[in-house]
Point group: C2
Chain length 199, copies 2
């Protein structure tokens, strides 16, 4: 089934923006990628900012729907569910030759000081992410994968923040290596997962 124009604008716009940045992407470029006239854009979106906010909402929904599938897969241990999601994300990053990265992290870096509207929306997206990872850390404690003396919420924050930093360096190096180092430090040194497969 052909996607509707609004969805196409959101998805193609996101693919361009995650690579080039929000300020650096013009509406004309998104229109060209989808092959629709300017009127189509303003039929669905009041402005570029409105598009940006709706794009974050769209990505938040699809990202967390997918994340929840991985985190709900009880055939794997809690930390291995997180790893399975990391592996699929890294496959995608590699396929793009490390051009994109994480939309949330990229926009937080670019727009937090520029727009309170974006900052609030991105704050919520990270909050939803943290809540999910905090629950996984709690579950990890129950099965002995996560040290009981560590605070699950702080572990979740460190997990997400450190991945965001590693992704910046993946873009710079065009390599998975920063994520490999992250995995080793987080899974083996902070948590006590003995063996972790390479990406």
């Amino acid at each position: 089934m052909k996607k509707d124009t609004k969805t196409e604008l959101l998805e193609k716009g996101m693919a361009i923006i995650v690579e080039k940045g929000f300020n650096n992407t013009g509406i004309a470029e998104i229109l060209q990628a989808v092959g629709v006239p300017k009127g189509s854009f303003y039929h669905y979106f009041a402005s570029k900012e409105d598009f940006g906010i709706k794009m974050i909402d769209y990505f938040t929904e699809s990202y967390f729907a997918e994340l929840d599938e991985y985190l709900g897969n009880h055939t794997l241990s809690p930390l291995n569910r997180l790893l399975a999601k990391l592996y699929v994300n890294m496959d995608r990053l590699r396929a793009s030759n490390y051009a994109g990265g994480c939309l949330f992290g990229n926009l937080a870096q670019e727009l937090s000081s520029q727009s309170e509207v974006f900052r609030n929306r991105l704050y919520q997206a990270f909050e939803s992410w943290m809540e999910r990872i905090t629950r996984i850390m709690d579950e990890g404690k129950e099965v002995g994968e996560v040290p009981l003396n560590l605070n699950s919420r702080e572990l979740a924050e460190f997990y997400v923040n450190s991945i965001e930093g590693a992704l910046i360096r993946c873009k710079l190096l065009k390599s998975d290596q920063p994520i490999e180092v992250f995995k080793k430090m987080f899974y083996q040194e902070i948590c006590k997962v003995k063996e972790v497969q390479p990406i």
Copy 2:
């Protein structure tokens, strides 16, 4: 002594770009901040890209000169020298209401997929940074602050990358909290430094 125009352009340009991004900053805005006409800019810089590269070089030089002072202060233990530098950086970030962050990290995120010239220059800047932190980890091993079984270079990479990620979240939250979490995890859980002062 009044700074020369070239230095003023580099410093004021950097202050704007670290907050707004490279693509989102116009030459006119930098000229206005310094109060010089367009001709001055093109007297010193062939193009905006040339300015960007010279700005990275200028910041690299001044940043590492300051870092080397902190890391060479042998009245403190190796990891406490690193912490002392982190504290001064955080003072500055707080003073800017978390608007800026790390020029290297911001530009790596923004420009790595856009320009090989910038990517190579930023790669070198991170490399210089990693080398310094690797030496500190080696020194930390000598005094028992860093576990001997961990690879110093990997620790250095994890240190730098995780700080970059924490800084993105500091911008988003307008708070030091992500760096506090980083400190706890890196210093207390990965290394074995028992007590770390709050920022």
